[in-house]
Symmetry: C2
Subunit: 129 residues, 2 copies
Amino acid sequence: MKNTYTECPILSQAECNKGMLAIDDALYAIGGKWKLRIILALRYGKKRFNELQRTVPGISARVLSNELKELELNGFVRRNVFPQSPVLVEYEATEYSRSLDEIIKALSDWGGQHKHKVKREMQKAVEMF
Amino acid sequence: MKNTYTECPILSQAECNKGMLAIDDALYAIGGKWKLRIILALRYGKKRFNELQRTVPGISARVLSNELKELELNGFVRRNVFPQSPVLVEYEATEYSRSLDEIIKALSDWGGQHKHKVKREMQKAVEMF
């Protein structure tokens, strides 16, 4: 079998293996179904737990609670407790979460284009039917 | 409770809800633990199944097989069958998979920075100990 390894097409050759590992690191920290959605929801404003759960459709309270703990540990989310009666707990996106803007922008741009492409293809399939 | 909804900080206000949905679309197509890793591995060159499995550490044959089917359906991966003996099956990244370059680049840049930050913080913690 001919096995041609092309040059790393996206990252420079020197940065190549490092880049592969960096993507692993990124996916480890913000990969999965929920983390980016939660961060994005909080970038629109501080929220209480229930409010946040409503903003991220489909997430269960248990999963949201776990995700918030991880996001707090990683410095993306701050949990503010206001000692009043009843106690008010609010979650907010940290300054550091803004470092994800480029990823969020790239995902959003691409998602829009991809949906367009899928729509066009479905249209074509319907016309050929 | 004071509930200040800030303006959408990353996307323009008009593009805001659309952007949220676009991110959902993107995560639906390429989210999860494996898809971007598989695409990236194939961007370095065509690979047979076993070879690809070795390049994506930790993935099981069953999961890889399912992910490849989905990636093929979504137009990111092409499965080439060469009728020889034994039959040769090779997977390759499509032209369309290049549309993900900006996302991959953003993830890789951010992952590198994030690892640096985590290292610095661990260093500080060690020094304070």
